[in-house]
Structure formats: C-alpha cells, structure tokens
C-alpha cells in the first residue's frame, strides 16, 4: 500500500523576471528516499523552500498526510513534521551546538535546563553515531560536523519528513558514505527523505524514486531501478550529455609556478598556509582538491598578489614575485579567475565594455593621451563577445544582468585574452549549467594545449579528475600528496582531503574529532 506523506500539486512560484517553479508536481511516500534532480537553477531548492514555509507559492496546493495545508513559515512546517537541512547551513556560528538546538525548541518557559537538553543531544548523537559534543561552538566544527548538527536539530524537533538540500556538495567521498548510513537508519525508523542533488552517481545509489525538474518545469518521476544514469542525464539536461571530454596527451614543459614553504594568515589572523609546496608546469592542468577552508582561497590570493605572505617564496617563470603587487604579478603573465565572479571577478554595476577592458584600460590603444578611447574599448569588447559567444542584452548594460554562465564567459575571455603564462582558476564552474560548464572546461583544456600552466582549484572532485593532468590534495594549509592522473584514485584523494592516510584511520577519526 502506498502511503503518501507529501503531495505538492501544480506549484507555481515567480520571482522578478523568472518563473522558478512552473506547475510542479511532487509526491513523497512514507519510508522512501525520493530525489529531486535538476541542474542549478532548475527550481529544486525553491520548491523545497516552499514546502519548508520559507517561500509562499503563488499557485498550487500542498497536502501533508492527505490533508490540504498552508505552510506560512518554518514553524508551521516544523509542526507538520517537516525538517529541512539547507545547503547553506542554518546555524548561528557564534553559538554552541546546544544553543543552536535550543533555538528550535517549541517548549515555552524562560529558563532552559541545559543539562537535560545536553544529555538528550548526546543520546541522539550516540544513537546515530554522529559524535557531536553539545558545548562546542559551531565555528569550531568542520563542515561535515556542522551538517551532523543540522541533522540533530531536525531530529530533535521530531521531524518525520527530512529535506536534504545538496547535502553531499561539501563532503569528502568518505563523509558521504557515512551520511548515507545515517539516512538509511532514519528510513528504517519510518522517516521519509527528500534528497536534492545533481550528482547522478549518488542519486542512483541512495534513492528509491527520482523526480526531475528542468528550468522550473516538472519533467517526470521514475523508479531508480528502471532507469540508467545516461537516461537520467538526458532528462535533466534535455539533450545528450558527454561524460568525457577529449584530451590530447599531456606535454609537460618548463616550470612556470614554484611555491616553496609558503606561510600566510587568513582574515582572522590564523595560520592558513603552513609551509605549502607546489609546482605547476607549462602545458599541464594541476588540479588542487580539498575540502573548502583548507587554504585554497588563501593560496590563490597569495599567488595573485592579493594577500601578503609571512614566509616562503613564490616564483613565476623563474622570477621571485613573493609579496609583489597584483599588477606586477599580472604583468608577469598571471591571469586570475577568482572564486566569486560577482564580488571579485567583475564589477556588477559596470557594463560589459568596462569589465572587458579592466586588464588593459591603462595601455594603448585603449588608453590614449590620459583618456580612455571608448570606440577602441567597444571594439575590443565586441571582439571578445563574438569570439566567446557571450550573450549580452547590450554592450552597455550592467554585467549583473547577465546569466551566471555568460558572466563567467566574459571573465574567462578577459583573462585568457591576456595570453597568460599561468592561469589560476578557482571554482571556475561553480553555479553554472551543464552547457556553460562544458564550455569553461574545454577552454581550460585549450589553454593547457597552448602551453599555459593552469592551476585549477575546485571543490568538485569529478571536475578535477576529468581535466587535470596532476592532482594535489590540500589539507590544513599543506599539500599532503600529489598524483599523476593515471595513478590517482578517487578513494585515496578523498581520504587525504579529510587529512587521513588510510581507511582505518578514517573510521577511527569520525568519533575522535570532538
């Protein structure tokens, strides 16, 4: 007998300029893992935020256990037994685990019995083997642990229906396995899970049924055992997808970047790079794998000249450029694709033309007798826009109006056109749809074939394995190991990302981090 706990009917949600959900249907049975699959921007999170009461639908109906309901806010959702674990954790970093749990408690009364709640947290933690200490502050926990705190929070509030919004995006492969075990245990206890993802292999692994969304529209629902990964990909993207990019054999030439014994501090003044060593050669893509916050960002900033280092040496094409200014480093042939295109890569309120010339407005022919020659600037911008097939409403429209993919293309076009010796690309495909992602990866490969040294920093392990020639793993500000792509194994890289050398060490580590 099918026992339907959640039923969403004809849900429509509009945001200024876009329809995020267009008459979407969704059904969840008791005791199943039901995946909501779709690309970035397909409307998965929007739909679940509606179920959690964060957004209000413009049209459509929500049934919980067969009853029509209205979910006005997250407290309503909580009362209906719905708990959501958001992609960006809903945790107050300066508070302790205990205090974060207290936040969600419905019990009234001024005084809180911290001892008793602590004990209950420990019980839940033990039951699911989560290993969380209630008195730790959130900011002291790793991302994986923070996610387990989110799980504790939802369990504590008696959630029967769990919504997990891309929970694996921030985890190492081993942590993913551990969390899948936790989900299975919850299912055994009669809970139901909605799992949001765009990673096909995981989806096939964990779910009973899959509902696919594309561009805000409902495409269909399928049983996992009756569909292949390839068919699923076609449903998700709307066309055939190539899983492999063609690659010419790798020709390694001169050493372009040498980083030795580098030490640097992060914004809080803590040591983020701790004697890091790294070499990148021309004609290769060096993929740097690692869990976010292990020094990747600091390293890229140090090389690009955006952050002072306290010790060590950075040599680019044989020249010592330690602590040189960003413009000096650029002048020596380093291009930089920063992690956040809207905050660092582009100036959102300026036009495509202004953004395109940021690297050369001070050089002739655009710079002409103390003035900017705008007809020259426009010509240059148009050339980039045509060459890279960038869709812009008009050249003088602010770039913030472009789609993520087109912004990234513009940024990439600007940086590559400077014919760098070294290209630093940090999360170059984050938040892009499949088409734009493919474009960016091809472009990086093209640069490599042209003899550019590419340092690719990414949280997406699949991406790193797909296009890198060598893979290094960064952990707590050091490179733990480097592999040739032919010898690299994803399990080994995953373990190193968690700072461990072997499987055994990992199973011991899960509970000793507290």
């Amino acid at each position: 007998m099918d026992d339907i706990v959640v039923s969403l009917k004809n849900i429509t949600k509009r945001f200024p300029g876009i329809v995020a959900n267009d008459r979407v249907n969704f059904e969840l049975r008791r005791g199943e893992v039901h995946t909501l699959l779709g690309e970035n921007g397909a409307g998965k999170s929007t739909l679940m935020n509606i179920l959690d009461g964060i957004y209000q639908p413009d049209e459509g109906e929500i049934y919980i256990n067969g009853k029509l309901v209205e979910i006005k806010n997250p407290s309503d959702a909580m009362r209906l037994g719905i708990g959501m674990i958001h992609q960006h954790f809903m945790l107050v970093e300066t508070l302790t685990v205990l205090e974060n749990v207290i936040l969600g408690l419905a019990e009234q009364g001024l005084y809180i019995n911290k001892k008793e709640i602590s004990k209950r947290i420990e019980e839940v933690s033990d039951r699911y083997n989560l290993c969380i200490n209630p008195s730790t502050k959130i900011w002291q926990l790793s991302v994986g642990e923070q996610q387990r705190v989110e799980i504790i929070k939802t369990l504590f509030r008696g959630a029967q229906i769990l919504i997990l919004d891309e929970p694996t995006a921030v985890l190492t492969p081993q942590e993913v396995e551990v969390s899948f075990e936790i989900y299975k245990q919850m299912i055994e206890e009669g809970k139901s899970i909605i799992f949001i993802s765009h990673k096909l292999n995981e989806v096939m692994d964990i779910s009973d049924r899959i509902t696919v969304l594309r561009k805000g529209k409902y495409i269909g629902t399928v049983d996992t055992d009756k569909i292949t990964e390839k068919e699923l990909a076609t449903m998700m993207v709307g066309r055939e997808v190539l899983f492999r990019l063609e690659r010419k054999p790798h020709e390694r030439k001169d050493k372009v970047l040498q980083v030795s014994n580098l030490k640097a501090l992060d914004d809080k003044g803590l040591l983020a790079l701790n004697g890091l060593n790294l070499e990148v050669f021309s004609g290769e893509i060096y993929g740097l794998a690692g869990v976010a916050g292990n020094g990747q960002k600091i390293l890229s900033e140090a090389i690009a000249g955006l952050r002072k280092v306290i010790d060590g040496k950075i040599t680019i094409a044989g020249k010592d450029l330690t602590n040189a200014s960003a413009s000096e480093i650029f002048a020596h042939g380093v291009s930089y694709i920063p992690p956040d295109r809207l905050k660092m890569g582009l100036v959102p309120n300026l036009s495509s033309v202004d953004n395109a010339i940021l690297r050369r407005y001070y050089k002739p022919p655009i710079y002409n007798r103390h003035l900017i020659n705008y007809s020259e600037a426009e010509r240059y911008a148009k050339k980039l826009i045509e060459e890279y097939d960038i869709m812009v409403p008009r050249e003088d429209a602010p770039v913030k109006l472009l789609s993520g993919g087109n912004m990234q293309k513009l940024l990439l076009a600007r940086e590559i056109s400077e014919q760098p010796k070294l290209l630093i690309a940090v999360h170059p495909t984050r938040g892009l749809d499949v088409g734009a992602t493919e474009f960016v990866r091809r472009e990086l490969l093209k640069q490599r074939d042209n003899g550019v040294a590419v340092l690719l920093i990414s949280e997406d392990l699949d991406e790193i394995f797909m296009i890198s020639d060598r893979i290094g793993v960064i952990y707590e500000g050091q490179i733990l190991d480097t592999f040739d792509i032919k010898e690299a194994k994803i399990e080994k890289v995953g373990l190193l990302m968690a700072g461990m050398k072997s499987e055994r060490e990992f199973s011991e580590q899960v509970c000793s981090t507290v």
Binding site: I54, P74, S75, M84, M90, V92, E93, E99, K268
Partner: protein, 312 residues
C-alpha cells in the same frame, strides 16, 4: 574621614549618578545591537525622554512618574526607527541619524516654555542595609537613589537573560544569523521590534534621569552628546551588559570632575574641559577596537542588515 577622602567619595558617588545617565542607554543599545539593529538615534531618544520625563515630573510633582513617562517617550520614538529599519528594510544609519535630528528638533520646539524651569522635588537616597557600611564602596555605590539601584538590577538581569535563558539565545541568534533563526521558527521581526523598543525605553529613561535628578532643569540640547558616548560604550562593553558599567562610570567620573573643576573656578578654559568626554570617546573606541580585534570578538554579524525572508 579626612577631607581629601571625603572629596573623593563625593566625587565618586556623583560619578555613579552621572554614569547612570549613560549606563541605561548603553544597556538598551547593547540589546538592540545584539538583535541586529543599529540605532544611531540614541541622542534623539534620550533628549525626548529628557524633555517629556521632565514635563511629566514637573506636572505630577513625582519624579518616578516622570521617569516612566520619559522611558515611554523614548520607547515610542524608537518605534519610528524600528518601523523604517525592520518593516521597510531601510538604511539603519540614515534612519538613526534622522531620529537624532528629529529628537533634537521636536524637543527644541516643545521645550521652549520650559527653558530654565527647575524641578525642585528632591529624589531621596536610600542606604542599603549592610552593604552601605562597607568603607568607601558603601558610600559610593549603596547610598544612592532608586534609579541607580534600578540600573544595577537591570544590568545583572540583562546579563542573566542574555546568556542563561532561551529568550537570550533568540536575541543573540537573530542578530547573528537572521535566516537561520527564522528557519528554526524564531520570529525575527518581532524580536527586533521588541529589542529596538526596549533600547528606546532605556535611552528615554537615561534622559529623564538627567533632567529629573542629575541636572534638574530643562535646557535646549541638555543631553549634550551623551547619546553618542553611549554608542561608543556599547563597543567598549563588547556587547556584554556586565561590562557596561565600567565605561559608563568612567565617563561619569570625567563629567563629575569637570563639574567640580568649573565650580571651583579653575583657570583651564571651559571649552577645553568640555572637550574631554569626546576626546576620551575617541581614545576608548580606538582602544576597544584594538582589543576586540585581538580577541576575535566582532560586532553581531548581521548588525545593520535588514532581513527579507524571500530574498535570494
């Protein structure tokens, strides 16, 4: 007691009273900022409390009624700021500054007929049994009026509430991460409204204490920048109610000293003396900021940021 130590005691006990004028608004602003609302309108709320508290006290001939009316006047004026910054999601800096200008303006207008009138009913001091017998400390801290005692109790109660109760967790959470609080079922707007109002109550109370007890008369602009000092004291106290009194009494001491010096006919130009509190404010803020940076204590993360649930 020698005459020197008796001067010290008199001066110190005046410092506590003068400090109370600052302590109340500082405590209020600590909670408002903890909830994520920066209110630069303290000066305005204080002077509104000062005038309306004074008028109410004068009319009813009762300083306690005056104090309560002053608090309510301050609280109501804070609601303007709450409406602009919470409901309309406006710019809190602009709104707060506007509130200060509004307060100075409205009191200038309604205060005309009251200029130089004096509130002559003395407020009684009470000695706390036992505590008042402690040498020096008893004389300074426990021979005071009810308003001062009220501020002691308030300070400790606020500290307890902030760190030991569920309400306190809610308050801290909405200022640190409104979205997370909302997702956990905490009503962000209601919390922010309430604590902004609460901040206004205490700012108004501080103003009323000034015109009813410390300098019991009305003059245009009588708060003389104390609201801005209170704002600096919030940083100095590192957003902890329990540390608020240190800064407040320090400035109270400077104020009392300046009073004393001017009364004794010193040759130091009065403009130089009047400069002291502001000079000290600068020094305190610079010093406090350095300490905060060293100890990695920051402002509440989302201070001054409006919250919109449906924003993406």
């Amino acid at each position: 007691m020698t005459s020197q130590s008796s001067i010290f005691v008199t001066l110190s006990s005046t410092a506590v009273r003068s400090g109370t004028i600052l302590l109340l608004p500082t405590l209020g602003e600590i909670f408002a900022e903890r909830a994520g609302i920066l209110n630069l309108g303290i000066e305005g709320m204080m002077i509104i409390g000062a005038l309306f508290g004074f008028i109410a006290g004068f009319v009813t001939k009762n300083p306690y009624i005056g104090f309560v009316v002053g608090m309510i006047a301050g609280g109501l004026s804070a609601l303007i700021h709450a409406f602009v910054s919470i409901t309309l999601r406006g710019n809190q800096i602009v709104s707060g500054l506007a509130l200060t200008i509004f307060g100075l303006g409205i009191t200038n207008f309604f205060g005309q007929p009251w200029i130089n009138r004096k509130f002559t009913i003395p407020v009684k001091d009470y000695a706390i049994p036992g505590l008042s017998k402690i040498p020096y400390v008893g004389q300074i801290f426990f021979h005071q009026d009810l308003f001062v005692y009220f501020s002691y109790v308030l300070m400790i109660a606020m500290w307890f509430m902030l760190f030991k109760t569920k309400l306190g967790v809610h308050l801290r959470a909405v200022g640190e991460n409104a979205r997370a609080s909302d997702a956990m079922g905490v009503n962000v707007n209601r919390n922010r409204y309430f604590w902004t109002f609460f901040g206004g109550l205490l700012a108004g109370g501080g103003g009323a204490y000034l015109t009813l007890v410390y300098a019991p008369f009305w003059l245009d602009g009588i708060t003389a920048g104390r609201g801005w000092i209170a704002l600096a004291l919030v940083i100095f106290a590192m957003w902890n109610p329990l540390y608020a009194f240190i800064g407040a009494y320090l400035f109270g001491g400077i104020d009392a000293l300046q009073f004393q010096l001017q009364a004794s006919g010193t040759t130091i130009p009065s403009s130089l003396l009047n400069m002291q509190p502001y000079l000290l404010t600068l020094i305190v803020v610079v010093a406090a900021t350095i300490v905060l940076r060293k100890r990695h204590i920051g402002t509440p993360r989302e201070l001054g940021e409006p919250y919109d649930r449906e924003e993406r």
